[in-house]
């Protein structure tokens, strides 16, 4: 059971930073969908925090801008917003894709993208999707009575399990990401059930082909669930750059980054799933442009290729 004496809902940044000077024992909350299950038996148990500070009503944090090249959305944006916003559904397809796999409709109404990132779970679903959008974390803080803003790329923002680059009184304010209009996207995830499940492996992919539709122009793949910090698959991406969209190239690319796996358990299983997910995610991301023969990716071709590499 989570107990606290005071529940603060600051309305603007000044109020928020002033509050931090006043109260000592506090915890910052947004959607609350992680903290309440955390304060139960088997995890943190009964938790008492004198003050909790809910940042979802801070007016300066409320941004939702979709521009031609970039989008900027508040850290307090809910995943359901990413799932339902018509413009996002049209242009930044990876966001509704990741959202549909994220918890369930009801939790998505509360859970925020900022909470998901600051929580920095190795199995967090949001992070790999944002990584494929080249996300920048926009951080605000206050020093000597003046509010400042700094930007750090998402791959540098996450420092480890439950560890992020936030100093002193800083909070994650927003994410700035690429508008991937014209890109295909795919999010692949496996866990023990369909809704409300923690990823064992998840892969996010956004990709586009050149104007001919025959060559890979930009492929971005990221993974989570298989290592402490989610990451992009650089070798896979570089290999495909400018190459012909065909089965052989996708298969070859899928083998290049499997060594990113550094999980506590079920390594062989995760490796097999990860490779299949990479293949499937890339195929789905370009499937509007070109037809890929999925039966090419059976065990014989994979084995052949593995032998060549060995």
């Amino acid at each position: 059971m989570l107990r606290y004496d005071n529940y603060f809902i600051p309305k603007n940044l000044e109020e928020y930073f002033d509050l931090l000077l006043e109260v000592k024992d506090y915890r910052i909350l947004a959607g609350c969908t992680d903290v309440l299950p955390w304060a139960r038996e088997g995890r943190a148990g009964n938790v008492y925090i004198q003050n909790v500070i809910d940042i979802t009503n801070i007016k300066e944090l409320d941004v939702f801008e979709i521009k031609k090249d970039k989008i900027k959305i508040s850290a307090t944006t809910t995943f359901q917003k990413l799932f339902t916003d018509p413009q996002i559904r049209k242009d930044i397809k990876i966001l509704p894709q990741v959202s549909v796999w994220f918890a369930d409709d009801q939790i998505r109404e509360q859970a925020t993208i900022g909470g998901n990132l600051v929580n920095a779970s190795p199995a967090g679903d949001g992070c790999p999707a944002f990584l494929t959008l080249n996300a920048q974390a926009i951080i605000v803080g206050r020093k000597d009575k003046s509010i400042y803003e700094r930007k750090v790329s998402l791959d540098k923002f996450i420092l480890g399990r439950n560890k992020v680059d936030l100093q002193g009184n800083e909070i994650l304010a927003a994410l700035e990401m690429d508008n991937t209009k014209g890109y295909g996207a795919s999010f692949e995830k496996v866990g023990h059930r369909r809704s409300l499940v923690i990823s064992t492996v998840c892969v996010s992919c956004v990709a586009k082909t050149d104007s001919s539709g025959k060559l890979f122009d930009d492929v971005r793949v990221a993974v989570a669930g298989v290592r402490e910090i989610p990451c992009r698959l650089e070798k896979t991406e570089q290999f495909l750059q400018g190459k012909e969209v065909n089965e052989q190239n996708i298969l070859e690319a899928s083998l290049l980054d499997l060594d990113v796996i550094n999980a506590r358990s079920r390594l062989e299983y995760r490796k097999e799933v990860l490779q299949n997910f990479i293949i499937r995610a890339i195929i789905k991301s370009v499937s509007e442009k070109i037809i890929i023969k999925e039966n090419y990716f059976d065990n014989t071709n994979i084995k052949k290729l593995e032998e060549v590499h060995a």
Partner: protein, 625 residues
């Protein structure tokens, strides 16, 4: 307790109220407004029994601090209809029989309402996806989905609302007839009160201090700091038991609260009754204990060696051995052309009823002890309680509250003794509601089992002999182990003619969580082994597995393994139905995977997927308003 003032609207009513500042919206609805249609199945956002609308959006009220709800409009299941004026969806749930235990149903009705509000034309995949955050343990979901599709078609005008009244009139038989479930209106409207929904004036809240050790002597138990917590009315331990402190369904081996030693992690040691749940929790946190750890047993086969005794006075860790002997297995195996030997194992399984254990106890004006709980076995519990409390049987009354799913899990008496002790000691009503975590760690599970199986069979598929030995982990206390061993032995060899049978089922004490009653009561573990080995035999004999079973199945007039004469035997009919429904590919079952002809038929259900609302066609829906 710290308070805050909230202003909100609940079901159209404006409310300005001072509430406990740490309350979740769910606590506020249930405890302060008595809107108990919203249930707490898990408290962690996993089950959906607490789903409510906040400003028109469906959320899980167990994940929302009440402060967040201030200024918002809340709509609960109580706003959807009343038992005499059901909403279209509620009528559909009623008609399709979607409400069984009923505990998940208020949340299901809310999730279905939300789904159809977001898209009145939602297809079945969209319905499944959007209701994915709500769990049901009884129905297997089909009847719930049927209800939502029915309601959708009535609302859209495709179907005449009269279909909602079309219950069949049973003539000769109730079998297969869709009769009205008389309890359904109370369930689909959230009006039915389960034990955790009940309240009495001056009611206390009970919390339990539990063992963190699998096997240990209790050296010292210090309650002084816990007793000093403001609001604590009583703390009970084994010393408070007035009568015989040993109970059990078959073997009376269990104390109400641990006596001198603990035998599993999660065993109750002391119970606190306080005027608030928070005070009771705080007091439990202040109980001090010193253990002297004892070597513990986790493996039933190891336990059978009796090197360490879990109940010393029994001189053995064997709970019950049930043998069945029929014919002569040595001769039977000698006649066989093929002998197959295999080992099978099953794991403990949690019942996962949606309603966590809960109960309410009070002393009535005539001095009778009353226990209200969702017990599946109240008569037996009443007899046990009379001995424990040293009360004549006419002074013990058990009232069975609606059972929010049991599956056998509410058959063993688990917490009723502690409640009775607290009620008798304080002479005040006492309520206890387990959290999901507490329920999973402390209550009985399905028996984990290991089965050694040997079967002899002729070339043409006639079974000549079967030898089965199952060792089951009974956990720390006897509970229903003896009955489970009996049923495993009686039914385990399956509905097949076997002239030579040697069957042994053995239940053993260990320091694991106690095992108890669970659907099929032991038959599952042994029959799983039997059916699996028959499939293995079919493959080895180059025979169709249905044919192999037909060659050996019981027919009317046969004697069962325990010599009961069968007037009828339905396995033949069942096999035929099964074969046709599964589109079974006839022949030896040695092909696997996609090449099988019985996969991907029109009757097979598609595998689960997500994203029904992501394709272009449904762009307008997908929860977009």
């Amino acid at each position: 307790m710290h308070k805050l003032t909230i202003n909100l609207e609940v079901n159209g009513r404006k409310i300005n109220k001072e509430v406990n500042s740490h309350y979740r919206l769910l606590d506020f609805l249930r405890e302060d407004l008595d809107l108990t249609g919203s249930k707490e199945g898990c408290g962690a956002g996993e089950c959906g029994t607490c789903s409510v609308f906040v400003d028109g959006k469906l959320v899980k009220s167990c994940l929302m601090p009440v402060a967040k709800a201030s200024g918002k409009k809340i709509e609960t299941v109580e706003h959807q209809g009343t038992p005499d004026n059901l909403s279209t969806l509620q009528k559909s749930f009623f008609l399709t029989g979607a409400s069984q235990c009923g505990f998940c149903i208020p949340g299901m009705v809310m999730a279905a309402t939300s789904t159809l509000r977001n898209n009145p034309e939602a297809g079945i995949e969209e319905i499944k996806e959007e209701m994915g955050g709500n769990i049901c343990r009884c129905t297997g979901y089909q009847k719930i989905f049927d209800a939502v599709e029915l309601a959708r078609d009535v609302i859209s005008g495709k179907l005449d609302p009269k279909v909602l009244e079309e219950y069949s009139k049973p003539e000769d038989s109730y079998l297969g007839a869709n009769v009205k479930r008389i309890d359904a209106p109370g369930k689909v409207t959230g009006r039915l009160k389960y034990a955790a929904d009940m309240k009495m004036p001056n009611m206390l809240h009970m919390q339990v201090f539990r063992s963190s050790r699998p096997h240990a002597k209790i050296k010292k138990l210090d309650l002084s700091k816990a007793k000093a917590v403001s609001g604590v009315e009583a703390i009970v331990t084994c010393d408070d038991v007035p009568g015989i402190d040993n109970f059990g369904v078959f073997i009376e081996d269990q104390p109400v609260l641990a006596k001198e030693r603990v035998r599993y992690v999660g065993e109750a040691i002391a119970a606190v009754a306080a005027d608030t749940l928070e005070a009771a929790k705080e007091a439990v946190g202040k109980i001090e204990i010193e253990y002297e750890d004892l070597p513990a047993l986790y493996d039933p086969e190891e336990a059978l060696k009796d090197k360490i005794l879990i109940h010393e006075h029994y001189k053995t860790n064997l709970v019950k051995h049930i043998p069945i002997r029929k014919g002569n297995v040595v001769e039977g195996f000698a006649k066989a052309d093929l002998i197959v030997e295999e080992k099978f194992a099953t794991q403990p399984v949690e019942h996962a009823y949606l309603e966590p254990m809960a109960g309410l106890s009070y002393v009535d004006s005539d001095g009778s002890l009353v226990i209200v709980s969702p017990s599946q076995n109240i008569t037996h519990h009443r007899h046990m309680m009379s001995k424990i409390m040293d009360l004549p049987i006419n002074k013990v009354r058990f009232i069975m509250s609606p059972v929010g799913g049991g599956f056998g899990g509410k058959e063993d008496m688990i917490y009723q003794g502690m409640l009775a002790l607290c009620a008798m000691k304080t002479r005040l009503p006492v309520r206890y509601v387990m959290t999901r975590e507490e329920d999973i760690t402390s209550t009985a599970k399905r028996h984990p089992s290991r089965t050694n199986y040997k079967i002899g069979i002729t070339k043409d598929g006639k079974i000549t002999a079967v030898q089965i030995k199952m060792i089951a982990d009974g956990g720390a206390y006897g509970c229903s182990t003896e009955g489970v061993m009996r049923k495993a032995a009686i039914l385990g060899a399956g509905p097949y003619k076997i002239d030579n049978l040697q069957m042994d089922t053995v239940g053993v004490y260990t320091n694991n969580t106690p095992s108890g009653a669970f659907r099929s009561f032991g038959a599952l573990q042994t029959e799983f082994a039997t059916e699996s080995i028959l499939d293995i035999c079919a493959e080895k004999l180059n025979m169709d597995p249905f044919e192999l079973r037909r060659k050996n199945m019981f027919v009317a007039g046969d004697l069962t393994h325990t010599k009961q004469a069968l007037n009828s035997a339905s396995i033949g009919t069942v096999l035929n139905e099964l074969e046709s429904l599964a589109n079974w590919e006839k022949g030896t079952p040695n092909s696997r995977g996609v090449s099988r002809k019985d996969l991907n038929n029109k009757d097979n259900r598609d595998s689960c997927f997500l994203g029904a609302r992501l394709n272009e066609k449904s762009e307008a829906s997908g929860g977009v308003k």
